[in-house]
């Protein structure tokens, strides 16, 4: 699967799509492959403030649990309602299935994230 060039990526295998000061956050195709079948996504409460690098939720597959980390600081403004009943959307369409939307308090933090090329190098 291709890694879209309009996304930024983290070393924790999350992606971020920034429009204005709001960022959609999801996990990459690589991450979902490593996890296997996702059965449960633990979502944060709307309104919660998170700092860059802080855990904000978790994603569970049949065999493992993995924490989700905020790629940038801000406030959780939306969680994806689809994931409650269809957590496997993350497997089927990882780069379109956002998990949370965060209103960034300092969107310049995004400049330190990886671009497509750098992320593809990371996962080799």
């Amino acid at each position: 699967m291709a890694y879209p060039s309009d996304l930024k990526y983290t070393k924790d295998h999350e992606w971020l799509r920034l429009s204005g000061d709001t960022a959609e956050i999801g996990i990459t195709d690589y991450a979902q492959q490593q996890l296997g079948d996702v059965v449960f996504v633990e979502l944060p409460e709307i309104g919660r403030t998170v700092g860059a690098g802080e855990p904000f939720g978790s994603i569970e597959s049949v065999k493992a649990v993995s924490e989700l980390f905020a790629p940038l600081s801000g406030e959780v403004v939306e969680v994806n309602p689809v994931l409650r009943d269809h957590p496997d959307s993350v497997n089927k369409d990882p780069h379109s299935t956002w998990i949370v939307k965060i209103r960034a308090s300092n969107s310049s933090e995004a400049t330190s994230l990886l671009d497509t090329q750098a992320y593809e190098r990371l996962i080799g």
Partner: protein
């Protein structure tokens, strides 16, 4: 990474798994497929049709000689005198404390010849233990014959119809926990009606150089029925639904047979087996803790190692837990104080810092109809 793979042991089907793009993991020192098409798809295939597994990493120890029965009776918790030739039972290889060196299947190959099928990660330890502990039993020798066998399992309601055209063995006459010698796809084979999935199925012992032929024959014969290759991931979720214990998770050298609620694997009518005194004492006095099944009430999954708590106090531990693909529930097993072991009892599990409600349920979670 490549060094690590080089150090791992490979089954006779390793090239087949890698060529088929199975996802491989290191398991008990072996390079094994954890999933082919996905744990959920594989799990459902076994519950509704059939799946084929490479379980060649399992170890085999054969005990033969004039006093082989006495030797097995000494080291095994179950009563091997009740096995007829061709019959199999589940048993424990125990320490003097009544805890598990390993769990195993005992197959009676001939009146004075037995084969133990043991866990991959314990095989070397088991062999050393068995070889030493059978000495007082008289004239019997133990041999580690693991390298002589590849082991392929076909599990699921369609297993019989897939295997039938490939063998002359009368599968309809082969009862659950019996085996027969014959052939599969023209390879000499021992076919056991056993498994680790809670479904009907067969485990097929063949020479390693015949493994690929048998594997392919099963998949070819199963193509019409949409039988698929499966990995260790689905094996784990399937066995958990069936409440079969996993060594290293649910049982180990710190858990007794009775704590694991496997008293039915003890031959209470025999005497002189390792661990007997402790187990008789526990049977009389009762156990302080017991392995139970639970379902999550709150959302979330109680996983291996998560504490069972009462307020601030840790009172037990989850040994296995997952979201099961077939029952579509978060289930698991845990050791809890005996007074909290009755089905219906409310439990609290610490799921990564969050107190989550769970409830004791009777085992197994899944029983085939």
């Amino acid at each position: 990474m490549s060094d690590a793979i080089a150090d791992l042991r490979k089954t006779a089907l390793n090239a087949r798994h890698r060529a088929s793009n199975a996802r491989m993991v290191a398991y008990a020192g072996w390079d094994m497929p954890v999933e082919y098409s996905g744990i959920t798809a594989e799990h459902l295939a076994v519950r509704t049709r059939a799946g084929v597994f490479d379980v060649s990493h399992m170890g085999q120890i054969e005990i033969a000689g004039k006093d082989a029965l006495a030797a097995v009776q000494r080291i095994s918790s179950n009563d091997a005198s009740r096995l007829k030739t061709g019959q199999i039972h589940y048993s424990g290889l125990l320490t003097p404390e009544g805890t598990y060196v390993d769990d195993m299947l005992v197959m009676r190959m001939a009146p004075s010849h037995f084969m133990l099928v043991v866990n991959a990660g314990n095989a070397a330890k088991d062999y050393a233990w068995v070889a030493e502990q059978i000495k007082p039993a008289g004239e019997a020798a133990a041999v580690d014959t693991s390298s002589r066998y590849a082991l392929i399992a076909i599990q699921g309601p369609a297993a019989g119809e897939v295997l039938r055209p490939l063998t002359g063995v009368e599968l309809d006459d082969l009862k659950y926990y019996w085996f027969a010698n014959g052939e599969v796809a023209n390879a000499r084979a021992t076919i056991a009606r056993t498994g680790y999935t809670g479904e009907d199925g067969f485990e097929i012992f063949v020479a390693p150089n015949m493994a690929d032929r048998v594997w392919q024959a099963l998949l070819d014969a199963g193509r019409q029925a949409d039988v698929i290759p499966c990995g260790l991931g689905a094996r784990d979720t399937l066995r958990l639904e069936a409440a079969m214990r996993l060594y290293g998770n649910d049982i180990d050298e710190s858990t007794t047979v009775l704590e694991a609620d496997l008293g039915w694997t003890v031959g209470w009518k025999k005497t002189g087996f390792i661990g007997e005194d402790r187990l008789r004492e526990q049977k009389e006095k009762g156990v302080e803790r017991k392995l139970i099944g639970f379902e999550m009430v709150d959302r979330g999954i109680g996983r291996h190692g998560y504490p069972v708590v009462a307020g601030d106090k840790r009172i037990g531990v989850v040994t296995s837990g997952t979201q099961t693909p077939f029952l579509k529930k978060a289930i698991g097993m845990a050791y809890v104080p005996a007074e909290l072991s009755a089905p219906g009892t409310d439990l609290t599990i610490d799921v990564r810092g969050r107190s989550s409600a769970a409830r004791v349920v009777s085992l197994p979670f899944y029983k085939r109809t």
